[in-house]
């Protein structure tokens, strides 16, 4: 009885979370376009609904009803599987995010590792989609995605290990709880910066969007995608931004902690601010070349992350 009820409750909650995330990603696309417009002396979408807010709904409808034509010679099963793989792991990753005390679908002990794993899985979608499209631009994009994953995943994990060491737990709830008095960004500033850099890369956002950089690769791995499959890739990307923002909030910016307002609201505000920074970055920065990025990851970021880990370890052991 109890277990069956629990399963039903979890399913309902999951469905609610799914719906909420889809809407959040949609709203995020609208917010990004309006923000970019604001930053770039133009208007952005302002026709559909008040302030153009319903634009994302119109776009979704358009994308769903659009023809989806796999190119001639494409590997059809892989071609259709790839976009699903792009969105699914990110959605799963949100399953362990704790929005407020106890507000999580699954309170995993290894929550951090789970989210990291899910983020890393998306690269399979990119490589698979690239390969299945049988397009040379896509192939180049897929190759870049794989190389970039290796380079950035290496220090993405290391950059947040300092936080894990300080807390002594991989559970997201514990990590937030440990920041009641002091956010980890104050203790781990270097770790935080490195995490955000790697996070931008993990979410494939400018300046780390080399696998789809439109200037040289047309649309990279997405070149041949259209309609709903394209939308799924898109969804995956925008959700990844939110997931990275949620993770950063949890790890470095005190999660749900904050005065007066309820915890979940604080969490939302913080995620929103970090997502805003992502948009801001996109409006500001040029894109480095592929080899320069990979070089930066291996030669600068990884040693720094190791150094940060070493220093944290020394403090933790020395302090204990």
């Amino acid at each position: 009885m109890m277990t069956a009820l629990a399963v039903v409750v979890i399913l309902i909650l999951s469905a609610m979370l799914l719906g909420g995330l889809m809407a959040a990603a949609g709203v995020f696309t609208w917010a990004e376009r309006r923000l970019l417009g604001f930053m770039q002396e133009r208007l952005g979408p302002n026709r559909v609904g008040p302030f153009g807010f319903a634009q994302w709904i119109a776009d979704t409808v358009k994308l769903i009803t659009k023809e989806d034509a796999p190119p001639e010679g494409a590997d059809r099963p892989a071609y259709f599987l790839a976009p699903v793989l792009a969105a699914l792991p990110i959605l799963a990753g949100f399953g362990v995010v704790m929005f407020a005390p106890g507000w999580a679908i699954a309170e995993l002990d290894m929550g951090v590792m789970f989210v990291m794993g899910m983020l890393a899985l998306t690269v399979y979608a990119l490589v698979l989609g690239a390969w299945a499209s049988r397009n040379r631009y896509a192939t180049l994009g897929g190759l870049r995605a794989a190389a970039q994953l290796l380079a950035y995943e290496s220090f993405l994990g290391l950059s947040l290990m300092g936080v894990v060491m300080l807390t002594g737990s991989f559970a997201l709830g514990d990590i937030v709880a440990a920041q009641e008095d002091r956010w980890f960004v104050l203790v781990q500033p270097l770790g935080c910066v490195l995490f955000l850099i790697a996070g931008v890369a993990a979410a494939h956002r400018l300046p780390f969007d080399l696998q789809e950089s439109e200037q040289d690769l047309v649309a990279g791995f997405m070149t041949e995608y259209s309609g709903m499959n394209f939308a799924l890739f898109f969804l995956g990307e925008y959700l990844a931004v939110l997931l990275v923002a949620a993770l950063a909030t949890t790890l470095f910016f005190g999660g749900w902690h904050g005065p007066v307002l309820p915890g979940a609201v604080w969490f939302g505000i913080k995620v929103g601010i970090i997502a805003f920074v992502f948009v801001w970055l996109r409006a500001t920065l040029p894109r480095p070349r592929y080899d320069q990025l990979i070089g930066f990851a291996w030669k600068v970021a990884l040693p720094l992350a190791l150094l940060n880990l070493l220093a944290t370890g020394w403090i933790v052991v020395g302090g204990a």
């Binding site: 970019l36 930053m39 770039q40 002396e41 133009r42 040379r136 631009y137 192939t139 180049l140 190759l143 400018l206 300046p207 950089s213 439109e214 200037q215 040289d216 690769l217 047309v218 996109r282 409006a283 500001t284 920065l285 040029p286 894109r287 480095p288 070349r289 592929y290 080899d291 320069q292």
Partner: protein, 586 residues
């Protein structure tokens, strides 16, 4: 063109002494430079002498083109010729030009290739073959360059039709479609490119003609090893509209709007060299006010074009925003040109002998407002783009070349100045009173992409200076020359005397009759040297209009610079050339 006459006089004597009878004749023209007819077999030696052996040499092959002489009536004093191949050389040290003409047979025109002397003769020769059927002995291949490989005939020959209606209607049948597609297939072996490197098979990438960064319908076939470009083969002609052929059917006046569309970002700039050539033939002197209006508008369009370059340059290294800011500025310029000319991109505002109309009331307030707006914006762009560390690591040292290489490939304009060569026709051969203006010529050092961007950004500031001087010193007076050949002709006396009325009627209904002869107009445009070489046979339309455009030569340099670059570098390199395909293909 105030060319120094003395050194070229010596030059002709020098050439005659050295090559004797191979110098067939000197043609009398209204030009400021000597025009010599030379024997075909001596052409490579003479060109080599002029490029390499003479003191103060002629390193720049500005143009190579042909004239179909078969229907030309007025060519007294010129040696017999069916198809004439012309080359136009420039010496930077002498600040002087020379034109050489080679007579060829009308049925099977042929001459030795010059590509061994001037590398950029390669594409010009392909064009000459494509358009006139001239064969150049010593060339490895004669491939068409602008027309489709399946094209029948040579379009600029007088025997070739000019309009589609002179042919049965075209049908794209399945067979035609497949034949065309087959003919467009990349053929690395035929081009002489390897498909293997160090035992690795190269990947062939078809970049364009529909690629977001190809800046128009431009195609490059790339041989890639990973992301590294091993070879690049540009393919142009997708934007070819036959502007030179159209010129032969339009009245002299009616061709002006076509000039705007040669470089569609240059607006009035392309009208200048054309009109300078026509006015030279007609012997018209443009009044000062018209000259300054021309200068001011040309500089506005130069800024406009450079801003588009600047923004898309930043965008091609991934910076999303600058291009939007720059479009705000461009919009302001468009407002001004709209107020003055009535149009934004293609004003067709200049006329033979002046400009279409006087400046409107209140133009100065608009211009002043823009001059106050722009400098602070330029400072912002400097911070946003040129001083951005990411922009610097993407562009510094990428695509660098030296002056000698640049000249070998016929480079002019900001592309040449970025390599450190102080060559700006506005300073060197001032026309339209450019010598009265105070402005600097920004120079780079290495020719890399960063320098090319910096030079153009600085040129915007210099253009602003020129516009300010126009604003403060705009002379009073007429905006069109008082000359019977100005078009449309002066009308104020038409109702008083029958002679003027008849002239006006004929000129408007049939077109201006430009005296027979040859003339050349050169202008330092936004991308480099634009040169229009026109031949009038004493008719209401041109016998031959040759349009030398900078983009055509600049693209030819890509195969030299591309190897070793990554695809991303190549995109930035393409952006830094700052070409438009209409200017390339014409």
């Amino acid at each position: 063109m105030s060319l120094d006459a003395a050194p070229t006089g010596d030059l002709v004597a020098d050439l005659r002494a050295r090559f004797g009878r191979a110098i067939l004749a000197r043609q009398e023209t209204a030009e400021d430079f000597p025009v010599l007819w030379i024997a075909p077999e001596a052409a490579p030696a003479i060109h080599r002498y002029l490029k390499q052996e003479i003191v103060r040499p002629f390193p720049l092959l500005v143009d190579l083109w042909c004239i179909d002489e078969t229907e030309r009536r007025n060519r007294a004093g010129q040696p017999a010729s069916g198809v004439t191949v012309c080359t136009h050389l420039t010496s930077l040290e002498r600040n002087a030009d020379i034109r050489l003409k080679i007579a060829c047979d009308a049925e099977a025109p042929e001459m030795p290739t010059l590509a061994g002397v001037y590398p950029n003769a390669d594409w010009y020769e392909r064009e000459a073959f494509d358009m006139f059927g001239v064969r150049f002995t010593g060339r490895a291949h004669h491939r068409r360059i602008l027309m489709s490989p399946l094209w029948d005939g040579h379009p600029l020959r007088k025997t070739h039709y000019a309009r589609a209606t002179e042919r049965p209607p075209f049908r794209m049948t399945d067979a035609v479609f497949h034949d065309t597609e087959d003919a467009m297939q990349p053929d690395p072996e035929g081009w002489g490119h390897p498909m293997m490197r160090d035992g690795q098979e190269l990947m062939m990438l078809n970049f364009g003609p529909h690629h977001p960064s190809a800046h128009g319908v431009f195609r490059i076939v790339l041989g890639l090893d990973g992301e590294e470009v091993v070879w690049a083969e540009p393919d142009i002609g997708y934007h070819h509209r036959g502007a030179e052929k159209m010129a032969e059917r339009q009245s002299w006046h009616g061709f002006i709007p076509y000039c705007d569309r040669i470089d569609y970002l240059g607006g009035v700039i392309q009208e200048l060299p054309y009109l300078m050539a026509v006015e030279r033939l007609c012997g018209i002197t443009v009044p000062p006010r018209a000259q300054m209006i021309r200068v001011m508008l040309a500089e506005f369009y130069r800024i406009n074009s450079h801003l588009l370059f600047y923004g898309t340059m930043a965008q091609d290294v991934g910076a999303m925003s600058p291009v939007f800011y720059m479009f705000t500025d461009r919009e302001k310029i468009h407002r001004i040109t709209e107020t003055i000319t009535g149009a934004r991109m293609h004003p067709a505002f200049f006329r033979i002998g002046g400009v279409a109309m006087d400046l409107p009331t209140g133009w100065d307030a608009l211009v002043r407002e823009f001059l106050e707006w722009m400098p602070s914006r330029m400072d912002e762009y400097e911070r946003m783009v040129l001083r951005s560390e990411l922009f610097r690591i993407r562009t510094k040292g990428v695509g660098a070349y030296d002056v000698a290489t640049a000249l070998d490939w016929g480079t002019t304009g900001p592309q040449l100045r970025a390599a450190g060569c102080d060559w700006d026709l506005r300073k060197r051969r001032p026309v339209m009173g450019y010598d009265q203006f105070e402005f600097e010529v920004p120079l780079g050092h290495t020719g890399d992409i960063y320098d090319r961007t910096r030079v153009r950004a600085d040129e915007i500031r210099e253009s602003l200076k020129i516009i300010r001087q126009c604003l403060e010193n705009m002379p009073e007076g007429p905006t069109k020359a008082d000359h019977p050949l100005t078009t449309p002709p002066p009308k104020d006396r038409t109702y008083q005397d029958i002679e003027t009325l008849i002239h006006h009627f004929l000129s408007v209904s049939q077109g201006t009759v430009v005296p027979a002869g040859e003339a050349t107009g050169q202008f330092e445009g936004n991308r480099g040297l634009s040169q229009y070489s026109i031949v009038s046979d004493g008719g209401t339309e041109s016998y031959r209009t040759r349009i030398r455009s900078p983009s055509f030569t600049h693209l030819q340099m890509i195969p030299t610079l591309a190897p070793g670059m990554t695809v991303a570098d190549l995109v930035v390199q393409i952006a830094a050339i700052d070409f438009v395909m209409s200017d390339t293909d014409r």
